[in-house]
Symmetry: C2
Subunit: 251 residues, 2 copies
């Protein structure tokens, strides 16, 4: 590596307004953005960086953790820390079909049913599905895979008794659209999507095969059938380091 643009310890002294770990994080990020490091390149070890910046290893770790949260870098225990990879575009629109999207991008799509159970509709779910609060709804959790790598973690609520046969159909078909068709839904579309971002909980991180403290994009929305009747209230989590949501673009 070139030591030409190396930042010296001089500028990272303690007690200068902005925290040292943040200045280090920005410095490393700038280094990557400047194109000095390519995707997948290995960063110096934490110990090396600590020595280079003249700080404790904790301080470097704090900086690296901030960069790892959004995928700028990826750390692997025992191996090292590496420059992260680009995000896969994921179109969001009136007709969003996971399998179709991934196939079009050249990936192998898959869906794995994690669980299905009957629960009482919460206020939010009931309002969206236009049913009574407390009415029985089917809660389905599924993991979506692209080339075997978990991409999203979805929780859906479907009204009963209309979709009582959905879990079995999903298990049999392996994708949502044909399973809905088996329940008599010829076509469906997305009415509204709300997008927010937060950190993954422990269970979510484990399911998505994410390291700790990673950012997820949360897209909640309502699907309606061709008659405009709400059929599915969904909440999908995407690893922000792997996915970029795309809105519009002629869809």
């Amino acid at each position: 590596m070139t030591g030409a643009t190396e930042t010296t310890a001089e500028s990272f002294e303690r007690g200068g307004g902005i925290a040292v770990w943040r200045r280090i994080a920005d410095a490393i990020e700038a280094e990557i953005a400047a194109g000095n490091m390519a995707q997948g390149d290995k960063l110096p070890t934490e110990a090396t960086l600590a020595q280079r910046f003249g700080v404790n290893r904790h301080t470097v770790r704090r900086a690296l953790a901030a960069l790892a949260a959004d995928g700028a870098v990826e750390s692997t225990r025992g191996s090292g820390t590496f420059v992260g990879s680009a995000r896969i575009p994921y179109p969001i629109g009136p007709s969003t079909r996971f399998s179709a999207i991934m196939t079009a991008e050249g990936h192998v799509a898959g869906a794995e049913l994690i669980g299905a159970e009957t629960v009482a509709a919460s206020r939010v779910v009931a309002e969206a599905l236009e049913i009574e609060e407390g009415a029985p709804v089917l809660q389905v959790k599924l993991k979506r895979l692209s080339d075997g790598m978990p991409v999203s973690l979805g929780t859906s609520f479907l009204p009963l008794p209309r979709f009582a046969g959905f879990p079995e159909a999903l298990r049999a078909q392996g994708a949502v659209t044909p399973a809905l068709k088996a329940c008599g839904v010829q076509d469906y579309s997305r009415r509204e999507t709300r997008i927010s971002a937060r950190l993954a909980t422990g269970a979510e991180a484990a399911t998505l095969q994410l390291e700790a403290e990673r950012i997820v994009l949360m897209a909640t929305g309502l699907n309606v059938d061709d008659a405009g009747v709400p059929i599915q209230f969904t909440e999908a989590l995407f690893a922000a380091s792997r996915i970029e949501l795309v809105v519009g673009s002629g869809l």
Copy 2:
């Protein structure tokens, strides 16, 4: 010697699969979700929580930091840690007008020009604006306010010489739409929006009046005039703790 670490329901012993700080974070989040604590309520002090969970204060801080990143809690030095507040919906669509949105929601909108300078178009910008790479473009940075509180931080690129008078018009008008009109753009619309999430850099956090290490939603997009000619490549940052993006819904 660890005999009498009575504490709460669960024991948070070391070395059991999932990290202690994560289990504590999930426990506190569950506590909030259960409705035991309302918006703005003060959490116990870090020292108290550390004692209660039988861990070091660092471990509690790690858990609280995870919750603070997405706004579940908010910490203030010298004061304490409090339960965070709800997010404001922000519609994204073909015709997104900040001032109109905020006024409709009952807020007072404002835009503050941070900087305007002529730069050479990068590959990404050039491609979007359909101009030559390296051609001069106007880079405008502005901060959008709602009721005086910073909501978003935007960077726009506009082709020259068409929009040479834009900064002056923006300064005079105080909003983007009339400023564009002054440059001869009768109407414009959004062609595509890409949404991702990451952590704010030091400078961004400062401008948005965010604490360190907070999550931001990044929406990049292209605006075209009524003739379909690209006029503005924009990148807007939103504090994920304050904003929720809304796509669709009859817009």
